[in-house]
């Protein structure tokens, strides 16, 4: 177990010993004079703080993963290899990196404040196999000046990786392992155990510790409320909690599996995930955000919940006292409250490995990409001949918790998806919830969406 938090930055070893674990990687970088990486929101939305980490790509190789350094606590990168904009220029000869050159040539910067972040996103994309299309790659970076056209043009102009590129050569070796860490500084402690048993013991001993998975909710909260947490427990190094297994008729998804990994492994097997994930946050957030974190925030507008409700998922919960299973429909006990006890961890999410006859995920938001839902709906329908055998209509954003419209579901069983059944289901669903209004949408609009999303479902899937 290491005592310090050294890591490799742009190829050189950096020592973060003595730094309060409440410090984000971004503030550490900037505070130590590495000011190329910028802060513009401190909540994971803008990508101005983007940095690239070398992470595993199978056992033998690695890849660059771009993340928001404003949401990564410094100790999370203990032992990691991190690249920032300062490190790209001319490893060998002082020349601009191809993505930097492309940004310059295409007029991709105006005020330049967003540019280092875009450069890092494009850097990671440059080496990605296959290379994602430019639009989806930069969906987590905001620019207030350019209107994006020139940045897209820059991204699209970048040619293949040149032979002998040192950044490419690095990827032929394994990524650094994510190891256990424990240390204290600045009146706060941080622990990252490497086994579930240790984590459960730590959880039982200090139920008040801030429990960290991807940090995309928790560190946003910390940045916004400014509260100094005295104890951090990170789940980032526990193999039992991440990864996906197919067991019998189920996929068992470790609670700490990131959305990025779920998309890569289940995108083609679980159609509802394939619809959900591209609309979930941004690639930068999906690289760290976990499915378990999404459920444990118990946010009424968390996007995983409706999908998991529609799929009748079950949750594995663990503590020093043992393990138990909770159907996802019993998970949400109130506004931002879950069935998790103070000493428990969410260990895994189980979903059936055969998809429903038809499934749709609809997300209503102000912006199509990288926005939080005003209302979301996940719908799954199983048919028996022409009639519906089973239906699940699950919503986010219409009540204090994610919920199913069970009365409407029941009304559809045994019937066809026709105008009459739609009318009945709409009426039943619309009456079931009394949503509230907030900054994202009014109560009236949310209430209307309950019925409208059903109409959209009928329109798209009715045979």
């Amino acid at each position: 177990m290491s005592e310090g938090i050294a890591f490799t930055l742009n190829g050189e070893r950096v020592d973060g010993a003595g730094v309060d674990p409440n410090t984000t990687l971004l503030h550490f970088l900037r505070g130590s004079g590495r000011t190329g990486t910028k802060e513009a929101c401190a909540e994971g939305e803008c990508g101005a703080c983007a940095v690239a980490c070398v992470v595993a790509d199978g056992d033998a190789r690695s890849r660059y993963q771009v993340v928001n350094s404003c949401l990564v606590l410094l100790p999370e990168v203990a032992g990691a290899e991190v690249w920032t904009v300062e490190g790209l220029r001319g490893l060998a000869n002082g020349e601009l990196h191809p993505v930097q050159r492309a940004m310059v040539e295409h007029g991709g910067s105006q005020c330049g404040y967003c540019t280092p972040g875009f450069v890092m996103t494009l850097f990671a994309r440059h080496y990605a196999r296959p290379r994602p299309d430019a639009r989806s790659a930069i969906a987590g970076n905001l620019c207030r000046c350019t209107g994006y056209r020139a940045i897209l043009a820059a991204a699209e102009s970048v040619s293949e990786v040149a032979a002998g590129d040192p950044h490419a050569a690095r990827l032929e070796r394994p990524a650094p392992p994510v190891t256990a860490v424990r240390f204290e500084a600045g009146g706060a402690s941080y622990a990252r155990p490497a086994t579930l048993a240790e984590a459960l013991a730590a959880r039982a001993a200090h139920p008040d510790a801030a429990l960290l998975a991807g940090g995309t909710d928790l560190v946003v909260e910390r940045n916004q409320d400014g509260r100094h947490r005295e104890r951090w427990l990170s789940l980032g190094a526990i193999p039992e909690l991440s990864g996906i297994d197919e067991q019998g008729a189920e996929f068992v998804i470790g609670a700490c599996t990131t959305w990025e990994a779920i998309e890569a492994q289940l995108g083609s097997r679980v159609p509802l995930f394939a619809q959900l994930i591209p609309l979930f946050a941004s690639p930068l957030i999906r690289a760290r955000a976990t499915i378990g974190g999404n459920l444990c925030t118990a946010s009424p507008v968390g996007d995983a919940a409706p999908v998991l409700l529609a799929l009748d998922a079950t949750l594995d919960v663990a503590s020093v006292r043992g393990r138990r299973r909770v159907p996802v429909s019993e998970w949400f006990t109130g506004h931002r409250r879950s069935a998790l006890a103070a000493d428990e961890l969410l260990a895994a999410v189980r979903i059936p490995n055969s998809p429903p006859g038809a499934g749709r995920f609809f997300k209503v938001s102000k912006r199509e990409l990288d926005d939080i839902s005003s209302v979301s709906g996940a719908f799954a329908v199983w048919f028996d001949g022409g009639v519906v055998a089973r239906a699940r209509f699950a919503y986010g954003g219409v009540a204090a918790t994610p919920v199913r419209a069970t009365a409407a579901e029941a009304l559809l069983v045994g019937r066809r998806m026709d105008a009459a059944s739609l009318r009945d289901c709409r009426a039943a669903a619309a009456g079931a919830f009394a949503p509230i209004g907030d900054v994202r949408a009014s109560a009236g609009y949310r209430a209307a969406m309950v019925a409208e999303l059903l109409a959209k479902l009928w329109h798209e899937v009715a045979p």
Binding site: T35, V85, S109, Q110, R149, K366, K456
Partner: protein
Amino acid sequence: MNGPRHECAVQHATGEALYVHDEALRSGPLLHAWPVQSGHAHGRIRAIDATAAHAMPGVACVLTGAHVTGQGVIGPVRHDEPLFPDEVSHHGQPVCWVLADSEEHARRAAAVVRVECEPLPAILSIEAGIAAGSFLTDEQTIATGDVDAAFARGDRELRGELQVGGQEHFYLETQCAWAHRDATGGYVVHSSTQHPTETQSTVAHVLGLPAHRVVCESLRMGGAFGGKESQANAFAAIAALGCQVTGRPVVVRLDRRRDLTITGKRHPFLARFRVAFGADGTLHALDVQLWSDGGHSLDLSAAILGRALFHVDNCYRIEHLRVRGRVVRTHLPSNTAMRGFGGPQAMVVIEEVIDRVARTLGVPPETVRERNFYRPGDRTHYGQEVRSADCIERIWRTLAESSSFERRRREAHAWNASHPHRKRGLAMTPVKFGISFTTTFLNQAGALVLVYRDGSVQVNHGGTEMGQGLHTKVAAIVARELGVAAAAVRTMPTRTDKVPNTSATAASSGTDLNGEAARRACAAIRERLGIVAAASLRCAAQEVVFADGVVRGGGRELPFGAVAEAAYVQRIPLFATGHYATPGIHWDPHAGRGEPFRYYAYGAAVAEVEVDGFTGMHRLLAVDILHDVGDSLAEIVDRGQIEGGFVQGAGWLTSEHVVYGDDGALRSRGASTYKLPGVGECPERFVVDLLPRASEPGAVFGSKAVGEPPFMLAIAVREALRSAVAAFRGSGIVELGCPAVPEAVFRAIRAGTV
């Protein structure tokens, strides 16, 4: 593309470009400031107890009004903004500031400062302000013709009302200032400001010092958009005051939430209008009343409202036009300049009027627009001739053709016929935007050009760089005037000890003013060098040509540097100042008459959108723009301004929603709740053409201002949405909220039912 790229493009891409906070963090140990903010929209402060804060780690000082040795009340036009208020007038207003050895420590200490505040009733909307008689200005009026008589004629008539939303600047670099003392007892303030002179004078005023003891430097800004025209001053003053009190360097950097909750935004407007029109769509008479929400202090609100009054005509001649306006005082952050400066709000209103007239008559809105265009010789409602009015039609026709507007509209109709739940809409809208500060005396600028003996050149001017490429353009002007390579010209950070008494870099006028001042300085130097060169080249001084880094004449040539060296040896000065005051402009606000603008910039845009009928969610599919930039000085920069301005305008009109709660606290207080356009809002088809043969005789090298005008091209998106909504609904007026967020579009589709 022709012309230079952004001069700092490489530094941007490598992270080497420094911004104020970067400079401060790299400068060595300093104190960091964090505000204690009001929890009430309006209230009287009874007591501030900072005892607990003083005991927190790292705390050096809690700055309060007691520390001010000069004047504690600031404001760019009227001094009505107390830095340390006894009476708070908006939620989130800084009450005092904690200085500590790190931002984290300052923040933690600020959280334990106790402020006792007696709440008072708050005015939180324009309507509430009107009802309470709460105003920041008197009513301004501009009128032409005889409006009352025209309405009495019995033409068709419509009345309506529109609320136009505000907009957060969301410059990616939040407000920041860093102050330290220099070796001679002065203060140096590095500020992310568009207006270094005013920042300097505000700091001097607060510190109780003459202006010459304060130097303000604005190296570059990470975006500004008007939000740092006046609003940077307070933070610079706090940094300087902290430095005066503690003797240590102090940095003030707002995090995003502080920035959003403290600083003002684009003004929301309320418009009530009445229009009389003919069966052919001719607008005969228009009577408009505008109210803007100024927030709690005057700031620049009067001039912003004034620009709205000037632009309510957009490109249309209306024989009888009266527009009145007044700034309402509310208990909200003080709204301020933002790209377009009141012009966009007024243009949204006139386009609303046009659309309602068109839908009432059952003709395409484009037909009504065309019918009412200004023609050569026409004058605006304030009496200025619409010079180059033929540009409007030239642009309109060319764009209609190049965008295949009619064909695409037919295609959209056909597409809509087969899609009951999704509709596409197209619209084409024009822009005419007046260039100059409407406060005439601001239309001046200075520059200082230094040529060294090796022929390398430094240019200093009063304009600031916020990403708009001003330094790139001024350097290009200098290079061209002196006939040297771009690489020979270095643009220096904007500092008030190089060029004094400058105007804000605003009103799109940066290049017109500073570029011409720099050109004049160069011309003076070139004239002197011409005489020196003529002697060596053995030709007449008038024959000497400066180009390509050499000086030619009499069939011979000399390197520019050799001529500079020769001039030095002959004791000829190699530096000069240049000053420019825009000629021919004047404005009489009482009469509502004058020529406030040097010229107009024109453009037009076609937008095509697709709307989902179930949710009101929409996508921008395609944009075609034809815009007039005169003779472009830097095409890549100008295109960037057009594209970026357009997308920012589209954000204002479709996704950016400033929301306050019933307590006056900002609810859209982060990037997660205030949605800027992301890459998804950049249309797949985004064609931008520059109007050819458009040289502007009244501006430097025939170029035209480009910062603001393209912003208003985005009104095409709003009108395209309306056209898509109309496709769901058939005929009749489409009342569409502004911003047209999905919810507003949904309500427009289901008018009256949700």
